[in-house]
Symmetry: C2
Subunit: 212 residues, 2 copies
DNA sequence: GGCTATAGATAAGA
DNA sequence: TCTTATCTATAGCC
């Protein structure tokens, strides 16, 4: 892979291979003749760099975002992982995948509850490495916990709901019943469990079983 | 595409095509003969459903997560979008892509600053739909703003740094200088700008130019 | 981890 | 949007 088929590292519009006789389709016993009778150029290799052309960039963003979300959904279903994706398009439009709010929440909970006063990495005791909901309340400085939880629940509320309320600006909500709802791609029945993508809190502790 | 090549919707280990003469490689003028002399089965079509087998699932998670992150990086570079991906593997190990903390922060900022007292969706005035940093301070209830910002910066601090401090548990930090750092895939020079993935605040207002 | 061959994603063009 | 031809990701193995 990555075999550098040719020196197409400059532009990808090398003006060769001019598509002759555009009426021949597949299953043509193409030999080593230099001419390839095709109807289109097919997918061209592109350089991974900013696409300057406005229209082209939008098309690419749309296609690839769709692809990315589909991949996310597949990974999620195949492996049972919880996944969240947020994209900000170049001009601030937001697309989300997966129940981002719940995941962010979950994500934040994995952080140690101690904040400024956190003494460093030598806190190796199991206690601080557990998600807070499994931790005895006493092990946490009261004020911090309260503030933290308040912040969390506050933020959680907002993340999930308020974005939707902004539907009339350029922010786009991308969390339907189906994480992906692209045309021509209907999720198989097996993907129904994507619904629980971020439902509730998995009781699986940090370091409980094997890693993956 | 999606041509349902055969009824392989059950398992993917249909015991046919037993790999005969495994010494022939590519550029073989394969005709419509039923037998395909290959060295491997190649990629097999799989059903998108939970992979029960532990080992297999882990391998798939690893491969596909890598692919997902690569796709994310590409999308980001190609279109200039800011992207964050968080994955929780089945047993709580966290993988992040992109500067998630900054993006979450940015994401949160798009939410209306008013919290509990928020009067609903009828707040159509431009003011509330702008990111807060472009909003006159007077338009925001003082206490709320203060609390909100405090929470944000607090969380921001944590998200980025504390997770790293947990390196000795099963949580894995995936935000190197390079969003992707997979073996055999070295980012082209053009991808250097991934560094700024979430740097600073884009001055692009909501609804400023064209959407994408 | 690395290798093949195939499944799947997608750049161009219509 | 829809199609086509290619490029790229990855399932099954070692």
């Amino acid at each position: 892979m990555e075999e550098e088929r040719e020196t197409s590292t400059m532009t990808c519009l090398t003006p060769k291979d001019p598509l002759q006789s555009p009426n021949m389709l597949v299953s043509q016993p193409k030999k080593e003749t230099t001419q390839t009778p095709k109807t289109t150029r097919g997918r061209q290799k592109i350089e991974i760099k900013i696409i300057e052309e406005e229209t082209k960039r939008q098309v690419t963003f749309s296609k690839r975002r769709r692809g990315l979300f589909k991949k996310s959904a597949e990974l999620s279903v195949l492996t049972g992982a919880k996944i969240a994706v947020i994209t900000f398009s170049k001009c601030g439009r937001i697309y989300r995948f997966g129940h981002v709010d719940a995941l962010i929440d979950k994500y934040l909970r994995k952080s140690p509850v101690k904040l400024e006063g956190y003494s460093g990495d030598n806190v190796a005791d199991e206690e601080s490495r557990r998600p807070w909901w499994e931790r005895p309340v006493e092990s946490v400085p009261e004020e911090e916990l309260e503030e933290y939880m308040a912040a969390l629940s506050m933020l959680r509320e907002n993340i999930g709901k308020k974005i939707v309320a902004m539907g009339n600006d350029r922010t786009v909500e991308m969390v339907p019943a189906w994480p992906i709802n692209v045309m021509g791609w209907k999720p198989p029945m097996d993907m129904q469990n994507l619904e629980n993508l971020t439902d509730g809190i998995t009781r699986c502790r940090v370091g409980d079983q094997n890693g993956d």
